[in-house]
Symmetry: C2
Subunit: 476 residues, 2 copies
């Protein structure tokens, strides 16, 4: 399956390749197809690009020099972090030069007084998390790909993940960014300040722009107090509507200490147990739906809020069964079940993916309506919804019918998308909650976005990247 | 004192005034100088503008029609909310037409399931707070002017206030905005979604732009769970360095439940007690510095964290004396002392104001160095620092010498600014933490901001407002 048809582009001249190579050094300019292959495909095999040249710059100055040259010569550039994006934003579909940011992996500074950490774009998310933990702080961004995705990619796609309920999305974790513009100018917005009202907010225009307006080369990240007590529960219940009641009850009791609230369908759990490595079922009984919830308390002497929540949930017939993790290993086992959920869909054949959000209250209706629409379109197809109920963000993925043909199923990708997106839009939702637009949803964007907003997006793109060299064909 | 010299501009033709009047109706187009006066001066008497016409539109469509006409006819517009801004951003210095947003005061929707409230720009902040409280929610933005400032103004200036420590600045409380552009196009970015990664973040460009890129006409605001228990303490201590220790101790113990942490100098407290209405000294003893701190807990059955913090503070010789509010009236009395602080400077003569931020850890050094610099420049002048220590944001105001001449003192405004700003910039700080640029700091901006950032700001302004009609002469 290749969801985007790659185009052919004129080959780069040997002279130009030599110029690019001169910027980063021979060792860091890859031209051998075998060396390039890992940068042009991605894990799920949905996108296959092609590229004559992968550059691995080691500094902001090298990134700036690459952009300057590319801008003069009108060469398309595709910035790439951990290559874990889910919408094809990091893939060179049209033979662009890839700028892999992975070598820029220095943590430039950790400031325990200001509670900030300045990372280069190529720092792996998990490394950033670990560095924060070493100084008794929390960097809360957390997602399945955290072992390989990078801070630059997290910010460029405005990643969400499992802690957004309490800490917000990636955008809310960055105090400042350093950006290289298309023409090679370096925009230094790095700042440790929590309050700074000197002029327009430029930072947020580059965060979430998926590399189409500039390349984020570094960021000053907020660090948070490390929670003193973390409690997690795995809960069985009847329906998304019951899960919503449990969410409301939990928010009333735990407020800002409710850090995760993940809704999991029985099918998603089943796939994860069947195909995930070392995944076990935390509950003995089977339920139609599950919730994985986590509370993070600043105090370790407070009475267990989680127990109180679950007791009330039982009394009110919301919770059918529940287990509280008694130790770290058990808590990690709950998360393992959740984290394997995406990968576990692959062995079940073709999967049509959606990353949608609707107002939190509308999630049960959305799932019911989407299930009906999908069943009508492709009888026997298996919806595998799961996601961040607290944010109204559901990964509404649909696996192919058990004995169906994978290619036939995947050919109906856009048809299924349309049916699902129609419901999302009717409910005032978003067709891309946390993964971005990339190429996967580019063609839908003009239909779903405010007309004036699209006009402004195009105007910003034209202004900041007049020759269209920054991640061409993505987003717009 | 008039800190900005107003210019004269050609009078509007009677024909054009009639056209503008036609948009809003006779009743809402003010041309009588007596009616206009309240819109051209401000409370502290620092800024005096002049205007031939104040328009009071009642809808987004009327705002759009006004902008279209002004854009065609090249007429400068100054949007105004509660007219409480502190940097002259809302004042028509050059005879512009004022658009007062106060009539657009409808709360369009309250959604208790999504925890959002959609307000028009003219809704008074306190009204929004009260509406949230009525449905058992919190809208946390809180500042001295909350009884008269508006949501539109709060967002246009990205207001901070006393709860930013826990809840962030105004920017972080808005999920979406509706904006009228210079040419009258309406940009609808209203959204209840917590996660939406469909394209560039346009919202944040308008928030904090002080009306120079467009006019915010409505916003979807986040509501938060209402705290179940609020504890406040008024603390006497020796120095800003000791206050910083108390802050660190408090954050360790209370984490996200520490909602306010205000540092108050003895002079600021003295002025407030001397000139404020119904202000009493909460402590019997005198101290060199004070802290007003507040904790907001989601639970009412937890042991008092505040007591634990103050006990540790006493044991560690950080706290000299402290009193915990025993009831709501006492807590309000603490805040009254704090809220009167700005107004209480006026009876003490001329006051040169700064709204700076530095990394939190640098605040004690900043105050010491600024005190020395100011004493050297104007012997006998009285620094009155106070502000949001938890955000590194200090209102470093300086009152004139006791028997000095007010005009002579105020004539040295920019000289004193420069001395203070030099220290701020050396420390990696901001010369406008929460009040904005307006006209007051416009001329300093190019010197203190990243060169590429200024270039981009100018480019955005030129793109969005090619004829320069939106709050001309402000920010840039």
């Amino acid at each position: 399956m290749n969801i985007v048809q790659p185009t052919t582009t004129p080959a780069l001249s040997a002279e130009l390749i030599a110029k690019f190579r001169g910027i980063v050094g021979d060792k860091y300019a890859l031209t051998d197809p075998a060396d390039i292959a890992p940068y042009t495909t991605e894990e799920r095999d949905l996108f296959h690009g092609h590229s004559p040249l992968v550059l691995r710059p080691g500094s902001t100055a090298e990134v700036a020099a690459i952009c300057r040259l590319a801008n003069e010569q009108r060469i398309g550039l595709v910035p790439q972090g951990g290559n874990t994006g889910l919408v094809g934003g990091q893939t060179p579909h049209n033979g662009e030069v890839v700028i892999s940011m992975r070598r820029m992996d220095r943590i430039r500074e950790v400031d325990t007084a200001s509670n900030t950490m300045t990372c280069e774009a190529g720092v792996i998310l998990q490394v950033a998390q670990q560095r924060a933990a070493e100084i008794d702080r929390l960097f809360p961004l957390s997602l399945g790909a955290e072992g390989s995705c990078t801070i630059g990619g997290n910010l460029s796609t405005n990643a969400g993940g499992t802690t957004a309920l309490a800490y917000g999305v990636a955008r809310e974790m960055a105090l400042g960014v350093e950006v290289v513009l298309a023409d090679g100018r370096v925009l230094n917005l790095l700042s440790k300040l929590k309050k700074d009202n000197t002029g327009y907010d430029l930072r947020n225009l580059f965060i979430g722009a998926e590399g189409t307006l500039g390349i984020i080369t570094a960021a000053t990240l907020k660090l948070f107090p490390k929670p003193r007590a973390i409690e997690a529960a795995y809960v069985g219940l009847k329906s998304p509507a019951q899960a919503l009641k449990l969410l409301s009850l939990s928010q009333n009791e735990a407020a800002g200490t409710l850090t995760s609230f993940e809704l999991l369908s029985a099918v998603a759990v089943e796939f994860s147990i069947r195909h995930g490595i070392d995944v076990r079922d935390p509950l003995e009984s089977k339920h139609s739906w599950y919730v994985l919830m986590e509370l993070s308390s600043p105090r370790d002497d407070a009475p267990s809020t989680l127990e109180a929540i679950l007791e009330k949930g039982m009394e009110q017939d919301i919770v059918e069964d529940a287990v509280i993790a008694v130790n770290l290993a058990q808590r990690q086992a709950f998360w393992k079940l959740r984290d394997e959920m995406s990968a576990a869909q692959k062995p079940e054949g073709g999967s049509i993916k959606h990353d949608i959000s609707v107002p939190v209250v509308a999630v049960p209706d959305f799932i019911a309506e989407a299930d009906a629409a999908v069943a009508k379109l492709i009888p026997g197809s298996r919806p595998v919804p799961f996601g961040h109920l607290g944010d109204g963000n559901i990964h509404y993925n649909v696996s192919q019918p058990v004995d169906g043909d994978s290619a036939d199923f995947l050919n109906r990708w856009h048809e299924v998308n349309k049916a699902v997106f129609d419901i999302v839009l009717r409910m005032g939702g978003s067709i891309s909650a946390e993964h971005g637009i990339g190429v996967l949803k580019r063609d839908e964007l003009p239909d779903i976005k405010d007309k004036t907003a699209i006009e402004l997006m195009r105007a910003f793109k034209a202004m900041l990247d007049p020759h269209g060299i920054m991640n061409p064909g993505k987003v717009l």
